[in-house]
Amino acid sequence: MESAETTRARFAMVIDLDRCNGCGACATACAVENNVPPARPSANERTGLTWQRVYRASNGRQFPENRSVYFPVSCQQCEHPPCVSVCPQNAVDVSPETGVVSQIPVRCLGCRYCMTACPYHARYFNWFDPKWPDGMETTLNPDVSVRMRGVVEKCNFCHSRWQAAKAKAAAAGKRDLDPADYVPACVEACPEKAIVFGNLDDPRSGVAKSAKSANAFRLLEKLGTEPKVFYRSDRAWVRRLADADVAVQEKEATRG
């Protein structure tokens, strides 16, 4: 039998913040694709499940000079992920085939140590049992398993779509998948075409070029996590929001 070695890829995305207008289509498409359950009545923005969360930030100036920017933040698929080494039971690893950081809910103990480790708050805990209104379970995506309460979950670049693209390639006798077959749901759903997705290792891909462009940046780069989600903006004040050197938010929200 021949070796089943597959090629290595580093999937990445570049999000153009000058195009994003905060419509939330990415977050919605993500929830539909990945069987993320709707909120329980008592859930809120601190206990909710949104793999792709859109944050709004502003230039901090007064009306009418105030301008906002929307940061869609999902798992940043770090090259040096702070969440992998902390998991006590190997429920998190990095896929050598895709560079995607995994989270395997059925292995997860629910200790939430990975959540404290992630500086991007991209990991979410199932505080509640997943529940859809009666009958709506027939609209679930069979390619993604439904998570149980008490485990952590997060974005995996729509891994099921990668699996499907790989199976399609295999059926055609190929080992390499067609880039057009693997597009995460958020990328597909963006009405502004603000997200470019592809293989960073392929120098011809749009993502490799955009990631190297002058105004591309990553969040909290100084932490050394080397995220594979890039952002770009021609506005300097937007780029400054990537680092946490100055405190700008004065909002305080207390729960309990």
């Binding site: 909710g48 007064q62 995506n141």
Partner: protein, 710 residues
């Protein structure tokens, strides 16, 4: 032998048993199986299994009618996306396949008593009898009959007009707060009530919008794509997504739009930027000029809180880079600006010569009616109907809903007795406020019609094909009308018995006329109708997601133009009133804010809690947003729960602070009410909209309010 069981025996037995158990697979398998049990809990929903296929339809959740590709498992849709390349669906459209399973879906007719937690089940026949009785008493003089249509222009809309034709006091009115409602003022000004016209936004070079969400898909203009060729000037108090992406943003105070429009007209005239010879003979032109003369840029700028230069610059831009289009209001959740303001704003179109011009306001042939040429009930605006005069309101929300304060309808009801009947798939929105609600099939369970949308320059139609079987209990609206006709003794002749047969008839008439083209959603290829041999072919092409469009005709028949639409002095008074009324200190202007997508439907997918409840992206209903300076002057901090007080009452809201909000303004988030998001609550619960009492102009885009402790 005596056998005494001693403590020591028990210990030995237990010891042996412990070792034996440890040496058997039982404890280890049990530990393993228990852990696996937690991975496979029976109460965790299991996704469906079955064959995979893709099917095409058209989204019927808002008037835009986007082509949709559905990924189906075992024939049932599990994911929706735009069927045409390069396009995308909005969050509402993407989750449309959840709606047939919405927890607030009506499964049978219900009677709703205010204050009762649960509606009572009734029979459809009973609702028919009650409706017929109300019609008979209306004919006997008890009051008038109003049908509120939430999606005008459908075959069903025509059927209502046909049904009520025999009743003198009956009118069909568009539900308040619908997109395109402001354009009715343009109808009046152009005396085009029986005529239909559209906005040629794609060919315009400058768009001046007073609050319309142009950059958020309003009017089907892909502004992102048209960035190079279209210049957008936005006049809006809120820093909306459109305002932020506009080329020029004039943050005028709420309620001062008319002053800004009149001042722009003032500059156009004063600087001789427009040629008014064609208008000089027009009805009321002189009074219009005198109103304009009262609004110098300096005065208007002071009223609106703008720099006068902004007004000068806007006027000059409009005049120099035509063709231009000026649109009024259309703010989702905020409703129309009111006729005087709309008249002032649309007047700019007449001054600038935007009518009958490519890239301006163009005439369009209307869609053929689905039936005979029998007389029809007149169309009216709800604000034209006298208060306390209506005996029966029928709300046809079978194709969608509007967002408006319920008091707009309530004030019309006759105190001597009235009945409100709603047709809706869901027990939320309008239906939750009726006396009776009759279930109709939702999107994806029946054929829905997407007739020409308000801004389109040519007539068009698309059909939303069902992907799911209709659930039992749902009543076809046209079949319901026929039952009413029978019970009330109204004449409703014709072959058609259901909505589908009515739409088929309309399609047959389009085919018979033989003009226009059908565009396929997949590849954008167009087929001439003339090439289709039977109307069934046209029907099939439409059911496969195609859209029929009429051939463009940019000429409008000659018409009378009435500049101020007979509004007389109201126009002059309006902007002054907005600022001159002395207000007690601490009074703020309450401005409702909604997003376009979710204001179109009575129910949204519970998954949209991701946007409304589980993230800060769109505030949940009951969130008030203030400028931090305004909050500081009132002594409030973020996250505080305060009482919001208006003339209509008070409500508790959570405060959010945002520097992007105009000082002195409270933005109130009009999110889908909790029942629309799928939570089981009492029908017709009060929402923030109930705080927005419409004034005499029946607008609710800006209302005086106060914030109080506690």
């Amino acid at each position: 032998m005596k056998f005494n069981v001693t403590r020591r025996d028990v210990l030995r037995f237990a010891g042996g048993a412990a070792i034996g158990t440890a040496l058997s697979p039982m404890p280890w398998n049990l530990t393993d199986d228990l852990a696996i049990w937690t991975q496979n809990w029976s109460w965790i929903p299991k996704p469906p299994k079955g064959e995979r296929a893709t099917r095409t339809t058209v989204c019927a959740l808002c008037p835009a009618g986007c082509p949709v590709e559905a990924r189906c498992i075992g024939g049932l849709p599990v994911a929706l996306r735009a069927a045409n390349d390069g396009a995308a669906l909005c969050p509402l459209g993407m989750t449309g396949h959840h709606l047939p399973h919405h927890p607030n879906r009506l499964t049978g007719a219900v009677g709703i008593t205010r204050g009762e937690r649960r509606p009572a089940a009734v029979t459809t026949d009973m609702v028919v009898r009650e409706t017929a009785r109300a019609i008979r008493s209306a004919r006997a003089g008890a009051g008038s009959v109003v049908v509120l249509d939430t999606r005008p222009g459908r075959s069903g809309s025509w059927a209502w007009r046909r049904l009520l034709a025999g009743i003198d006091s009956a009118v069909v009115a568009a539900a308040p707060g619908l997109e395109g409602a402001s354009l009715a003022s343009l109808d009046t000004m152009l005396d085009a009530r029986s005529q239909s016209f559209g906005l040629d936004l794609r060919n315009a070079r400058t768009i001046l919008s007073f609050g319309a969400p142009v950059a958020e898909g309003w009017g089907q203009l892909d502004l992102a794509a048209a960035r190079e060729s279209v210049r957008l000037v936005q006049v809006e108090p809120m820093r909306s997504r459109t305002a932020e992406s506009a080329d020029r943003w004039l943050p005028a105070r709420p309620g001062t739009e008319a002053a800004v429009a009149l001042a722009i007209a003032n500059v156009l005239l004063a600087e001789g930027l427009v040629d008014t010879t064609a208008l000089s003979g027009t009805d009321e032109f002189d009074s219009y000029l005198s109103v304009i003369a009262g609004f110098s840029p300096d005065r208007a700028a002071a009223i609106a809180g703008l720099a006068p230069d902004e007004i000068f610059a806007t006027a000059r831009e409009l005049a120099s880079s035509g063709p231009s289009i000026v649109v009024a209001g259309e703010q989702p959740g905020g409703g129309p600006l009111g006729r005087p303001a709309e008249t002032a704003i649309f007047g700019l179109n007449l001054l600038l010569g935007n009518v009958d011009r490519e890239g301006g306001i163009v005439g369009r042939t209307p869609l053929p009616a689905p039936g005979d040429d029998a007389p029809l009930t007149p169309l009216a605006r709800l604000d034209e109907i006298p208060d306390h005069s209506v005996a029966l309101v029928i709300i046809d929300a079978s194709a969608g809903d509007g967002v408006y304060p319920w008091s707009l309808v309530a004030r019309k009801l006759s105190p001597k007795g009235s009945l409100v009947v709603a047709l809706s798939p869901f027990l939320s929105g309008s239906a939750a406020r009726a006396n009776f609600a009759v279930p109709t099939p939702p999107y994806l369970e029946t054929i829905h019609e997407l007739p020409t949308s308000f801004a389109e320059p040519v007539a068009s139609i698309a059909l939303s094909a069902p992907l799911l079987p209709t659930r039992s209990g749902a009543v076809d609206p046209v079949a319901f009308m026929r039952s009413i006709a029978r019970a009330a003794g109204l004449d409703l002749a014709g072959e058609w018995a259901t909505t589908e047969s009515l739409i088929r008839e309309r399609v047959a008439r389009i085919h018979r006329a033989g003009s226009g083209t059908v565009t396929s959603p997949a590849d954008g290829s167009a087929t001439l109708v003339a090439e289709l041999s039977t109307s069934d072919e046209l029907w099939d092409a439409l059911l496969a997601g195609g859209r029929w469009s009429a051939a463009p005709s940019n000429t409008m028949p000659p018409r009378t133009m009435r500049i101020t639409g007979g509004l007389g002095t109201a126009l002059g008074e309006l902007p002054t009133r907005a600022t001159a009324t002395p207000r007690p200190t601490g009074t703020l202007t309450l401005v409702p804010r909604a997003t376009r997508d979710t204001s179109a439907s009575a129910a949204v997918s519970p998954v949209l809690t991701k946007l409304y409840q589980e993230s800060g992206l769109r505030g949940s209903t009951g969130t008030a947003v203030l400028n931090p300076r305004t909050a500081a002057s009132l002594g409030f901090a973020a996250g505080r729960n305060v009482r919001l007080l208006t003339a209509a009452g008070a409500m508790r809201v959570a405060l959010m602070l945002d520097e992007g909000v105009m000082p002195g303004v409270v933005e109130i988030v009009v999110a889908p009410e909790r029942s629309a998001l799928g939570e089981k609550t009492a029908p017709g619960a009060r929402t923030v909209l109930d705080l927005l009492t419409p004034g005499n102009e029946q607008t609710w885009s800006a209302v005086d309010a106060q914030l109080l402790e506690g």
